[in-house]
Symmetry: C2
């Protein structure tokens, strides 16, 4: 073990900072929108760039085809008998629209006032950029006196990890590991570092209500033709009860409520509703009545309308009965829910609401993955907590995140039961998934120091 | 009175047909989308074109500013003491989108297989084109031995006639008339000519649910942030009862059901549900359970979602809680309903549904006009029926249309109580308000003959 002193790592960061920032920018420049076939070439280019970056850190790399954006795989053998750390991340990003809401172009990253702005500047390229920087430093400073590190970066995380999910069962030897490390999560709102103890699962679908052959005159046909937009609104309104709880039969089957220990840890980090409203523009009144915000976000499944589109939306008015109406839905799942069963329940609910005279078509139904709930009292968590205390000067808190890293449960299993360790340095102000996404250099630095210290200590 | 023989009018049409078609095409070429400020210049140009056309038929014309697309006004004095006929129409058209659904460009009219294709080819420019052609013929063949004809063409009919509504009270002398003639309606599905005995009123509004400052990550915020798209769906779902009847308190106040005589006339023209489904792609199951299609469309108010837009709508998925959601609504009203009161009821209903933590903004609230219900047994209707029998060879039927000509009630009142006469030659197959709108030359000819015979007989 070649544990690197924090002061050494910090000095190394200062010496290389400008270069690290340039590499971070280079990563953001790829418009690697994994969900959009138009950007397939950009995704391949981005994958190639990360592979090159890993080779500079001593890795042997491969680009693995999964019938989708390729997976970047790298391995850097360490001391014989050392633990094997598998780092998982994703180089794909969310679509950048609405483009007009960006102050600077999403794929032309700009550094201002201590932050880098651009799509993916944080999620996940920004966090990967400090991981890569730390791996390069470890390569320079420790040589072979390090644990074995494997890296797996996919290009479909934002849209369900379909290719990786299909390919993983055949990659058991490649991904075999003792720890599964992920840098794609958030710090506490208080500024304390955070270790993620839970993630929600994800399923998605698109539902379309098909009606008339064309848009119809709402006067000539109002009272005759059924209206697909009205019908879809009624269908979506039926997804929740008045109190906000999902009203979809069988959807919640198996949901596991928090344990007494989890409830105890959950309230350690207080939730400030006023700060939430300042940050987001809305009070935290979503989800189910009668539960704490932390429980609603971390321990309860939610169903969200991500988009709905039908008929006229321009200036003035157009008095039509639209020919069709389409909505995109996603549901977050909690421990105990089977994603396949939850998705089937959602689809069955929508089909059961099919309005008279109209056709309900479900498409793009995607099982992301199940939820993850981890053991807060493991030795792995204790060692990460010690490094975080040293790097950040504060005890970490435990988070049960509402977000998802869909493929993580499967990856942990195929990796031989490697326990996941999720530590990231995001904050709400980074506006991930939204226009003007950014990531602050000071947290990039914390991430770099954490990875450098953690891996050099194993 | 200089009644023109049908054979003379028919021969005149054949001699001038090619020229009439060219003029019809010229009218369609103006992209006079009255609701869209981008097309203000096109609307002015189109108004000027119609004024010029009227001058060729012996009219003195004015373009009247209403703080909106101008109104074309023309008058052609006839025999002293002759009746005064006021012809009302509109030169504005519905927006042409979705553009990709047009087989030929909407404002580059193409004549094929006996039909002219283009936005406005029927509604209302096509019907106005045969009116103008007939007026020109009457000018050539009868000279001053004709009734007095006034023409009033507006540029905001498709979006609520706001400018004309504001200006009309000051134009009593200009519009004073004995009959108010409108050529903007449909024939019977059976092919028989039709006289319209009723039109519905119209009110419109846009409702926006404003939520987070930006689109939020649906995982990090699901269960915390209220979802504007879900909320808007719930609001719109609340507009109707399970049986399809409007569920808006006070909205139906004053609604007058059909009289016994109206019910008797209503069923003379049978409604064929299979033909309706062939034409539109949907069975006629919209509106309220337990009523005939004719009654649902002609004698009951309806509330339609004309468009709804929120969040992501592109390829693949984007897991966000949208920052806002917007819907455009229109309601058709029946005799007895006060449009101001009905609009206020609709707005109050939406505001009362305002979801926790989100803001409901109502905009573009527009009172089109009240419904119109006419006397089927008047001498005016009898004389029009006689001309229709001669021109079409069939007895006309009576229609209570579901559509609206919003300003008509006000216009009839300001014109000194002139009874409206609504005869038009549209058919469902013309696809008005939709892509690939068209109008058939054989019905253009019927319209021309009807106007020529009717006016020359007065």
């Amino acid at each position: 073990m070649a544990s690197i002193d924090l002061s050494v790592a910090a000095r190394d960061f200062e010496l290389n900072r400008d270069r690290f920032v340039e590499q971070w920018k280079a990563a953001v420049r790829f418009p690697s929108v994994g969900t959009d076939p138009v950007h397939a070439g950009d995704c391949r280019d981005c994958a190639g760039w990360f592979a090159a970056r890993l080779r500079e850190a001593g890795f042997e790399t491969e680009l693995l085809s999964t019938g989708a954006p390729p997976v970047v795989y790298g391995v850097r053998p360490g001391r014989p008998g050392s633990p094997v750390i598998l780092i998982y991340g994703h180089y794909d990003v969310q679509p950048a629209d609405p483009l007009e809401a960006w102050q600077t172009p999403p794929f032309d990253p700009v550094f201002r006032e201590g932050r880098l702005y651009g799509r993916g500047a944080q999620d996940n390229k920004g966090q990967l950029a400090y991981v890569c920087a730390a791996l390069e430093t470890l390569h320079r400073l420790t040589g072979r006196d390090l644990c074995t590190v494997k890296v797996l970066l996919e290009g479909q995380e934002e849209s369900g990890s379909e290719g990786l999910t299909r390919a993983l069962p055949g990659w058991a030897e490649r991904v075999k590991a003792d720890v599964l490390l992920v840098a794609d999560t958030f710090m506490a709102e208080s500024g304390a570092p955070a270790i993620v103890m839970g993630l929600r699962g994800l399923v998605q679908l698109t539902v379309t209500v098909e009606g008339p052959l064309r848009d119809l005159h709402s006067g000539c046909h109002g009272g005759l033709a059924p209206n697909p937009a009205t019908a879809l609104c009624r269908m979506l309104a039926s997804l929740h009860r008045e109190d906000g709880r999902p009203a979809v039969n069988d959807f919640e089957a198996g949901c596991r409520p928090p344990s007494a220990r989890e409830r105890e840890l959950l309230v350690r980090e207080p939730f400030d509703p006023l700060r939430y409203e300042r940050q987001t523009g809305v009070p935290p009144v979503g989800g189910e009545a009668g539960l704490t915000p932390q429980e609603r976000n971390g321990f309860r499944p939610t169903i969200e309308v991500n988009g709905i589109h039908s008929g006229y939306g321009g200036a003035g008015s157009k008095t039509v009965i639209p020919a069709r109406a389409m909505a995109k839905l996603s549901a977050r799942l909690v421990a105990g829910q089977d994603p396949v069963r939850a998705l089937a329940a959602l689809e069955a609910h929508l089909r059961a609401q099919a309005p008279a005279g109209l056709r309900v078509v479900v498409s793009e139904a995607t099982v992301g993955g199940p939820a993850l709930r981890l053991d807060a009292d493991s030795p792995l968590v204790a060692s990460a907590a010690a490094v975080l205390l040293e790097v950040c000067g504060r005890e970490p808190v435990f988070h049960w995140e509402g977000a998802s890293i869909p493929v993580l449960s499967l990856l942990a299993r195929v990796a031989g039961g490697a326990p996941p360790l999720l530590v990231g340095f995001g904050r709400e102000e980074d506006q991930v998934h939204a226009p003007n996404e950014s990531f602050a250099l000071d947290r990039f630095r914390l991430g770099y120091l954490f990875i450098t210290k953690l891996l050099s200590g194993w």
